[in-house]
Symmetry: D2
Subunit: 343 residues, 4 copies
């Protein structure tokens, strides 16, 4: 572990959104971190607390424009909270300047540039690096993350789904074909840019499915579940927008492929996540409220009429984005995985 006296200097690239705010809040609690850079596209160098009023008196830092050289001088590690395509433009430059990167965008999550192009509608501009990048889901890839220069932080629906399904899929208890994932997310997952669909009077008192059949987390779920289970997995993923700020719940439906009882399946899940500090395998049906503002992912399993149902919940901004990013940061930098995240 690095000396505790010298702090790691951290840059927040793209500091305007909800994910960045949550990241800053966590890092302010992290004993080994100093936030030295925050960037926006706003030219007038706003204070972080002007963009995020909740940070008043908490941090005194003026935002700058994204300049890789300047970032490299001021920071050791960068968290990139940029939209896709903007990330793959900035990251190679940051890496060239020896800045380590945790990328919260989707740009380095998929291994196949063609799959990227198909789902994102853009040619990947850094295809050779793609596929060499560790997928930053520490519960599955913790041993590969230490020492990396770049980690691809997973999507929020992705983490919720994969964490819930991996144990039973790897254990051979569910059929890899025809898994249906019904995801429900709070509105903060849709970002902070004004859009009619996320106006309060549009999404309050309402629920709807969206992006059915074409949500970009689909290939990510397929890829990682196939990788960890060694089976060809193709999920049907269906997200829903529900009227709450934060929280993400997945109810997942799969055909049973073993005779294991519900109790045995629960035990499989418990064993799979033994010693994983942020996974809580429980008997009760999990609710998002109990993981809100934490880095926990709660989950359970039910078997009913030949169908295995896995239920998992997390806070989309923390375990679904910024919390897991700090978990990755800790592993990359040699800190204890839970630093800044517990209690």
């Amino acid at each position: 572990m690095p000396s505790s006296t010298k702090k790691t200097r951290v840059a927040i690239i793209g500091a305007t959104g909800y994910t960045a705010l949550e990241l800053i809040r966590i890092l302010l609690r992290h004993p080994h971190v100093e936030i030295t850079v925050a960037t926006t596209r706003q030219e007038d160098a706003p204070q972080l607390s002007e963009i995020h009023p909740s940070l008043r008196n908490r941090i005194d830092l003026a935002c700058t424009l994204l300049n890789p050289q300047e970032i490299a001088q001021a920071a050791d590690v960068a968290f990139t909270c940029l939209p896709h395509t903007a990330s793959m433009e900035a990251i190679p430059k940051l890496l060239a300047e020896n800045v380590k990167v945790i990328d919260l965008s989707a740009d380095y999550r998929l291994v196949d540039p063609e799959v990227y192009e198909q789902w994102y509608g853009h040619v990947h501009t850094d295809p050779t690096r793609l596929g060499t990048i560790v997928y930053g889901l520490p519960e599955l890839y913790a041993d590969q993350i230490p020492g990396q220069d770049l980690v691809a932080n997973p999507g929020c629906y992705t983490s919720t789904s994969i964490l819930g399904l991996a144990p039973l899929l790897c254990g051979g208890h569910i059929d890899p074909v025809g898994i249906c994932i019904d995801g429900k997310s709070g509105v903060s997952g849709a970002g902070r840019s004004p859009k009619m669909i996320t106006l309060f009077p549009e999404c309050n008192e309402s629920v709807m499915a969206y992006s059915v059949g074409n949500h970009r987390h689909t290939p990510e779920i397929d890829q990682v579940l196939s990788d960890v289970s060694g089976k060809e997995v193709e999920v049907v993923f269906t997200p829903h927008l529900i009227p709450m700020d934060r929280g993400l719940q997945c109810s997942m439906y799969a055909r049973a492929s073993s005779d294991a009882s519900e109790k045995e399946m629960l035990e499989v899940m418990r064993k799979f996540y033994e010693n994983k500090p942020f996974i809580r395998v429980i008997e009760a049906l999990p609710r998002t409220k109990d993981v809100a503002h934490t880095n926990f992912c709660d989950m359970t399993v039910r078997v009913s009429r030949g169908t295995v149902q896995v239920f998992s919940v997390l806070d989309n901004l923390i375990k679904g984005a910024s919390g897991v990013a700090v978990q990755n940061f800790n592993l990359m930098c040699g800190y204890d995985e839970t630093t800044g995240l517990l209690p």
Copy 2:
């Protein structure tokens, strides 16, 4: 059609809850109805507007205790908004007094008294009548409802699911086995009795599945879908509580059993509901907001990776309870099906 000058006198049996309130609101708009009786278990004869302040200046009626003879003198038709078991105690007495009944409880929905006992934990006390009662889903059983003395009004999740699945199931486009129904309901569906689980700070900013594997709407869905399709249907039904007052959405997952395209399946749905005034088969993904405070059920279909997904929404208090009750009332009494419900 009955003479428009003489109004049908209506009793609301169990007037305290959200369903009763919504029913009264609709009936106040109904040109052929006069509400003459409202009952509660409160002994002090409260005015309806004391129980439901929104009814102030709208109706001047003091509640009475449930007395079948008195009800028969004052009313032609009764809507029973009682808990299960209370309904099957009261209804035989009302029928004996020649009062027609629309029952909003679950007591007369299932045809088999053993299934009732298994799911509700009570011996059915009126088993011979059970199984002779028409299931009050007018889109499926409209021709059987006129002239009935008792109609069993369907459950809210039940209507949403059945209406969405019936066309494709009857048309042979989806496999009757392994259908998964992921339902999301607003909190008014849980009733007006104080419980910790429905306190605002418990269910706001949260989502959770509940009653997994044992929700009582399950056998009702099985029974009706089997009846209309002629196939043995056994669904996996999973309800969720989400932080909104009203609205109910079902995302339903079934294996395709035909080669029909998404467009063709949509056409099957459209044809199935041709001339049904309260069903809107649409191309867009439906949201509960667009049916709130109406008797509409909106639905659509998607096909993705061999899975057929049907999405349907309705207002749980109206099309899911009191609106369809008035539809049934209209059909029983010979009024136009839409009276009081449109626009």
Copy 3:
């Protein structure tokens, strides 16, 4: 009253927002109205149901661009739901074509063009007409509305405040100086244009005051209260945004200027609104839920430590905008004031 066989043809000018949607919903219930025109700035002539999906199957009407001559051929009366300044540009042309107008903007509410300029930052372009226009608060000006060609529909906070304060002010029971109005509004009052401040994750789980000291409803409240009471009234009006779709509540604080008891003041309010079908003076503290989706305004009074507190609530989209607009329409056209609005 006009012949009930011939319907009044109505145009909705500016049909995109929440107010227009609510107006259309009410007018669809109005037995003497046919909606023949709806305008937007969108050039592709969208169907009303594309803009407002809840209107599917309810109305078959393609939107047009605003053209006064064409509107005059197709409609007898226009409801203008335009932003301020756009209204005062369109309305003189509509009036010149003999189209009657109910204006839901602020352009014709103030009598003094200089006050308009001061609060709205624009020179009024129709100053001679200003000041001749009846203020469309039927509870105060009902006798002046019949026969008018143009009525200025009041603001939502304005109606709530004025209706609550007028009885006691006119009766001499409260001091006209130093009245503080603390208003709380649901987010639909802020309109349907995407803005960061009205995004769900910004205003959910939050409350804040806004526009303190400069909200444009202030001079409107001053003007009308001064007019009806004959006293110089200058209020301190402070609006708040709270996390709900619809509903508006005002708590108003004034110094008592008479010895009247709370009970006597309540009686003053009751008498003032005798025979007013949409005002409910009650003993309990009113809540917005009980007036939601209705044209009612509920109110009560409390006296505490020398301060008179008036509490009033209404639905900002109905009694605060579109419902009162239809009340005005009814009075202008000679229909019963409550047509389409009750029950």
Copy 4:
């Protein structure tokens, strides 16, 4: 400061409610605290994580019944989260056993037993101690808190009001007579016991004033503001329930009693709270969202038409209850005031 190696052992008396949960969350972060006791009235010794599922894996502690001797053996300090009257029964016993107490109930806040009886409807059973107890609002009484055995933790509305008004009242800039306080609170402030009024479908999409003229925080505000200002203060306090989990906002209206400008008044507030780590005097209008889940109280001032308006916000469960309790604990025990509360 006490040795950092030996932790202070803490008891949570009455661990079932929202306040206790929040307190436990904060104390789990406190480096010098070990929670050794939690009590409930449930006889079956439930684990804390059964009562509060969010605490799973966070704390392993079975609840016990309240037994002062046993508590004294296991704990140095007790936080009493009991209802009023239960607190004044338990606290003398705890003090007799040399357990220090921070009382989150109202039982020791008022100095005059007659005022207590008048507002709470109970004779105070520990009247001699009453009046010797420090009021635990550290921003005003920090120098009196160290070394105390019992501190009376303030009410949530009380803190919000007093913190906002104290600077201008003490500075002579507002009239002590006729101050109106319009408070808005999230529903968690109403507690976790099931009541119809706090059911989700009752308070969602609604706002209402409650307890007008008789809310029990009124005499507390009067007493403390009179004490700190040396003037006879009698406020008109009006609370409102709004549909959110947590957050409390007060808009306060007072007559100006000096010629100070808005800017000067802001400066008075800034100076008054110089070096107070949890008060943020700002220029913008504060919103509860920006203090949610923190121990901050944000405030500002506006002057309009001779009326001074002070706006203050805090999180009712933290700065309004459990956060300030930990502030008091820190001061009583000699820890830094911010320990466990920042960042």
